[in-house]
């Protein structure tokens, strides 16, 4: 909201600069975001009288004026405007003067006539809304010739752009900011502009008017004032400049009055043309469920009983406190104006404006609470201005109706709480500070004092509110600073956060870049991923009011984010390898048609060789197996044993997908995610030459790390044996290694050796080969086995016996030994 420094001076005598005021306001809770001088670089523009006016000798579109700018100075000036006449007063920008936008004026030739500068329109003065767009700004007849424009009509005003917090509806007005400044600068004095003096309002209405009835208690009070014989026209120039500065377009004078009073006093007003009212009565009632009304902006609104309507003769003429209807406005022929000054419940107006998405100036103020006692003063002020600006007769007794509204309640300040909160406890000074903000000290002089807030400060309701008045006046920067004592409990980062820190440490060290993508995805991501109808991940929660279609569905998997991350990386021109991971929440319904959901923390990774994977080194290619090492690292570092079994994911390569499980006690295992190469069709759709490898793991099962089982290394020598197997490719590629390992371990059980535990210390695959020397349709898999006991040296014959059993079992299983 803009606050005009010039208008402020109507309400307060302050001996400080706008800069000082702004600083103090900002630190005390009313942030001044910027200060502007709307006249910009305007310089050297003065009032001048058009002494003579002639047609240009050769160009019929132009006029030549002789101007008098006082002190005997006269100027010859050419214009294409047509709205001026001899004797008019205008703003004249002579040679050497500067316009608000910085344009410097000089001599200019118009078809043989040399013009010294120019006469200004409102737009050229930087105030396009003050006057019609074509033609010069004709000044009032009392404009002082020769005077600088910046000193007239508030043109040289300073505007403070203040951001008013929602609890301070009282600051949405010039008078409110003046009162705040009075509190902040105790040496200042509040004053009243002349138009706020009470009006003689003794006459009965000349027009018949029935009752005002307020069946809806949400209308706290409702007053109507009458102005007869009003002449519609422009408002005084200063008022028009003020309205423009404060961000409102000047319209016709009767409407300008209502806006001016709202901006200065904070009371929203509405001006009707009495003759367009459907009936001579007003009723403020709750809307009926489903009732429809067309508001001023031409939109049809469907209402509920939460909304309040102002009706006349049963017809809705305004959505109370929010927006007027279409028919009853002021027009050029209006002569009898009725001014409405009312107050509505902030809760009700807040509901209506939020539900309908209307944030009018009135709704904004009512929903932040307008002082219910203000309606009387504001009505009187608006009528005074109707008389001044529209020449209307206004001394009629207003019509009024009221409901009960809450009166301010006393609030008590205790020395104990003041001192606890602020580490400061001077009650006398605190009292002075609080009183400075218009909050009356009503009783108590010791450690407990009671205050009564004024009607415009409903935000003062509890003791903490009074402490805040003291705190913000004194400022928080000089308060002592200290650390708390020992906590009652030992601080705990908690398993999920600890795990997240661990996971990122492992993956970053392994070459992954940590990314973060949006939690919401394009609505069609399930079909992009080819998720089946019965897959929970195909049924994301969707937002009711997304920003865009691309950010509509809550992610059920981190995969799309990583794929988009890959796309963005490639699009940015990165050609090297891409390794990315993300940790975050996924959102899954409890069941396909349930609105209940669970949030699952996951980590997912993506690895791609790059669009240009060339390197000087061999063996750098990433594939399923290189990524598998990362997955194993994550799991093993948490103390779990990973288990990989052939799996299926709809978006993954049908032959290169593993389910990732962790081994549990008792031979069981638990699925925690998957590892796969992306489906080639998806790689092609994304225009990348694969492979793109991905994994996604649930984090919760890894939260509580298992203590790693550490065994002492045997001090007795190991016996090493190699074994090379011929494996038929038609066995399928699936899980052969796991099968061989299972067969070997089973056969190498230590039974009969007289020792406990396993005699096979390790089984390591060291070669997989297919080609020359190996029969067609087979591959060779070569293993190194290490046999070892913890407590003694194995005898050769023992090793031979065990190894023989291993060979035999493998043969029986159909693996031929080379």
């Amino acid at each position: 909201m803009f606050v005009s420094w010039e208008l402020l001076k109507d309400f307060i005598e302050l001996d400080i600069s706008p800069e000082e005021a702004a600083e103090r306001l900002t630190l005390s809770g009313t942030e001044v975001e910027s200060m502007t001088r709307p006249e910009g670089k305007l310089k050297g523009v003065v009032v001048a009288r058009i002494e003579t006016l002639e047609k240009h000798p050769t160009d019929g579109h132009l006029f030549v004026a002789h101007l008098n700018s006082g002190g005997g100075r006269s100027h010859l000036c050419v214009t294409s405007a047509r709205n001026m006449k001899q004797g008019d007063l205008v703003f004249y920008a002579g040679a050497g003067s500067v316009l608000p936008d910085g344009t410097e004026l000089g001599m200019r030739d118009f078809a043989g006539v040399e013009s010294a500068g120019m006469m200004l329109s409102a737009a050229e003065l930087g105030l396009p809304d003050v006057d019609s767009p074509d033609g010069l700004l004709i000044l009032p007849s009392d404009a002082p010739v020769g005077t600088e424009a910046t000193t007239l009509y508030h043109i040289g005003d300073t505007l403070l752009d203040v951001s008013i917090t929602p609890n301070r509806g009282d600051l949405l007005s010039v008078v409110g900011v003046a009162r705040e400044l009075k509190g902040l600068f105790p040496d200042s004095t509040l004053t009243l502009p002349y138009w706020l003096r009470p009006l003689e309002q003794e006459k009965a209405w000349t027009e018949d008017f029935g009752a005002i009835s307020l069946p809806d208690k949400g209308c706290l009070c409702y007053r109507l004032g009458l102005a007869t014989g009003a002449k519609m026209g422009p408002s005084p120039l200063t008022a028009r400049v003020d309205l423009c500065h404060l961000g409102m377009r000047p319209l016709v004078n009767a409407v300008d009055v209502t806006n001016y009073v709202m901006l200065t006093l904070g009371q929203p007003l509405h001006a009707f043309d009495l003759n367009t009212l459907p009936a001579r009565e007003i009723t403020v009632r709750a809307a009926h469920e489903g009732e429809v009304m067309t508001t001023l902006d031409g939109k049809e609104r469907t209402l509920t009983p939460q909304d309040m309507l102002i009706t006349s003769g049963g017809e809705a003429i305004a959505l109370a406190g929010v927006m007027g209807g279409q028919q009853t406005g002021i027009n050029d022929d209006t002569h009898t104006v009725v001014v409405e000054s009312a107050c509505f419940s902030p809760v009700r107006v807040g509901h209506t404006s939020r539900r309908l998405g209307i944030s009018s100036e009135a709704a904004f103020r009512f929903s932040r609470t307008v002082d219910p006692t203000l309606s009387r003063t504001a009505l009187s002020a608006s009528l005074t201005l109707m008389r001044e600006w529209c020449g209307a007769e206004v001394d009629y007794r207003p019509l009024a109706a009221e409901n009960e509204y809450p009166a301010p309640q006393p609030v008590t300040l205790t020395k104990k709480k003041l001192s606890t909160y602020l580490s400061w406890d001077n009650m006398d000074e605190a009292t002075k500070i609080i009183e400075g903000f218009g909050i009356r000290h009503t009783s108590g002089n010791g450690d407990q004092r009671t205050f009564l807030p004024p009607t415009w400060r409903p935000d003062i309701a509890i003791e903490e509110d009074l402490i805040e008045e003291v705190g913000r006046f004194r400022g928080y920067n000089d308060a002592p600073s200290r650390l708390p004592g020992e906590p009652a409990h030992r601080a705990d980062i908690g398993a999920p956060t600890r795990l997240a820190a661990f996971v990122r440490q492992v993956l970053i060290a392994r070459g992954y870049v940590e990314v973060m993508t949006y939690s919401f995805l394009p609505e069609d991501f399930p079909s992009w991923l080819r998720l089946a109808k019965d897959d929970l991940r195909a049924h994301p929660l969707t937002l009711a009011n997304p920003i865009s279609r691309d950010q509509t569905a809550m992610r059920t998997t981190l995969v799309p984010g990583l794929l988009m991350s890959l796309k963005a990386t490639l699009a940015s021109g990165w050609r090297g390898p891409v390794r990315a991971f993300e940790q975050g929440r996924t959102f899954l319904r409890e069941s396909i048609d349930s609105s209940a959901h669970v949030e699952i923390d996951r980590v997912a990774g993506l690895v791609f060789n790059g669009s240009d994977p060339r390197t000087p080194w061999k063996g750098q290619e990433e594939d399923f197996y290189s990524v598998k090492a990362d997955v194993i690292a994550l799991i093993e570092e948490r103390g779990f044993r990973p288990v990989f079994v052939p799996g299926h994911e709809p978006f993954a390569h049908a032959g290169q997908t593993a389910e990732v499980r962790i081994a549990l006690d008792g031979g069981e295992s638990q699925r925690i995610g998957w590892l796969a190469r992306l489906k080639p069709a998806l790689e092609q759709e994304m225009d990348v030459s694969g492979p793109v490898c991905l994994f996604e793991l649930d984090l919760a099962p890894l939260e509580e790390a298992k203590r790693p089982a550490l065994h002492p290394v045997s001090s007795f020598p190991a016996s090493l044996r190699d074994i090379s197997l011929l494996v038929a490719n038609d066995r399928g590629q699936d899980a052969v290694a796991a099968d061989i390992a299972a067969v070997v371990r089973e056969a190498a059980q230590a039974e009969g050796t007289g020792t406990n535990g396993e005699i096979l210390e390790s089984l390591r695959l060291f070669d997989v080969y297919e080609g020359k020397g190996i029969p067609e349709g087979f591959r060779s898999m070569a293993y190194s086995l290490s046999y070892r006991l913890p407590d003694r040296t194995l005898k050769d014959e023992e090793v031979e016996a065990i190894h023989g059993r291993v060979r035999e079992s493998l043969s029986q299983r159909g693996y031929s030994i080379r």
């Binding site: 807040g350 939020r354 929903s367 708390p484 705990d492 999920p496 991350s565 990386t569 940015s572 959901h597």
Partner: protein, 355 residues
């Protein structure tokens, strides 16, 4: 002297000379090995001399034997020294041959990179743990009840305008469900769960319907809450200054501005000294020349919120603060466009590395 002894002495002399020559001419390990075999081997010249000791009288034997043994030790030492010398020479040659270009790029994966926002989150969490705060987490899809109502923001409240909210269709017991607009609902959930006294921080994702260079529809906050008896603003001040100083790695000036939040009373906003210019550059692009950076909101917890958390506000009070993690990350890492954080472009985080 016995002629046998004479002869042996002569032979010793001859062997010594021959050995010295052989040693000097052995420029390869092979030649050196030959020399070893020739002199000190089982059938070597020195060995056979030792064998011939038997021919000497028992008086002569010790002296000659001693000499021979000394010679064998000397030979072995010289052979060993020569061997090391030759090996070193050979290695020196090989090392020269095996010279590589150490400026070639490395093999294997280079290290990855962290995301500044996550980095900020974990750093702050660690700092706060040091101050006795535990981490509490909550759902990102929240209920109106926890996100607004419990925080003193009933549905009509204009403060809701400050937070444009993403909603989900439908309505449940806790009102409409929505994406949490701040991490503050975790405050209430934690008070209800753990009671007082309490010290927690709640880091996490938050969402608002905003999208421009300084606002992302998804962003991150870290909320802090301390509930205890007779908590003073001074402790909030001390905590905050400890936190910001530890995070930015040097003591920073703080400025508290009075402000308003429905869930704290009194409320303030925190500005920290500009991390870029410390207020010394009137044209600073980070602080716009003001010297101050707005980083968080805070205040003494409103009694209504403490009550909503199931704690008696007549017994306990406390403070709460909220920081934008994205903002903190931008300041620490000198980032100006928030949207770069979330588009997943890996090359952004690897800035400066060769693509």
């Amino acid at each position: 002297m016995n002629p046998v002894a004479e002869s042996i002495k002569e032979q010793i002399k001859g062997v010594r000379t021959a050995f010295e020559e052989a040693l000097a001419s052995a420029s390869q390990t092979e030649a050196l090995e030959e020399a070893r075999v020739r002199f000190t081997g089982k059938k070597g010249e020195l060995t056979s001399l030792l064998r011939s000791l038997g021919k000497l009288s028992s008086e002569e034997r010790p002296a000659v034997g001693q000499e021979l043994n000394a010679l064998r030790d000397e030979m072995e030492q010289k052979l060993e020294a020569r061997k090391v010398q030759l090996r070193d020479a050979e290695n020196e040659r090989l090392e020269a041959e095996e010279r590589i270009d150490v400026t070639l790029p490395p093999r294997g994966r280079p290290a990855g990179a962290f995301h500044p926002v996550f980095q900020t989150l974990h750093e702050l969490v660690n700092i706060m743990q040091g101050l006795g705060y535990s981490v509490a987490l909550g759902p990102e899809k929240e209920e109106e009840h926890y996100n607004f109502d419990c925080l003193n923001m009933p549905s009509w409240h204009p403060a809701r305008d400050m937070q444009d909210t993403f909603y989900f269709p439908g309505e449940g017991q806790g009102g409409r469900s929505l994406l949490r607009t701040h991490t503050s609902p975790v405050q209430v959930r934690s008070m209800l769960k753990y009671g007082a006294p309490l010290r927690i921080v709640c880091p996490g994702k938050t969402y608002r319907r905003d999208n421009d260079p300084t606002h992302s529809p998804m962003f991150h906050q870290m909320e802090g809450l301390m509930i205890d008896k007779d908590v003073s603003f001074s402790v909030l001040k001390g905590t905050i200054s400890e936190m910001t100083s530890a995070f930015f790695g040097r003591p920073l000036k703080n400025r508290f501005r009075a402000s308003y939040f429905p869930f704290t009373e009194p409320s303030m906003e925190l500005d920290i000294e500009c991390v870029e210019c410390s207020g010394r550059n009137p044209h600073c692009r980070v602080c716009k020349g003001t010297g101050w950076l707005e980083v968080g909101g805070m205040g003494m917890v409103h009694p209504a919120v403490i009550r909503a958390g199931g704690i008696d506000p007549d017994v306990y009070n406390g403070f709460a603060f909220g920081f934008g993690l994205d903002r903190m990350a931008m300041l620490k890492y000198g980032i100006s466009d928030l949207r770069l954080f979330f588009d997943g472009n890996v090359s952004y985080f690897l800035s400066g590395r060769d693509a």
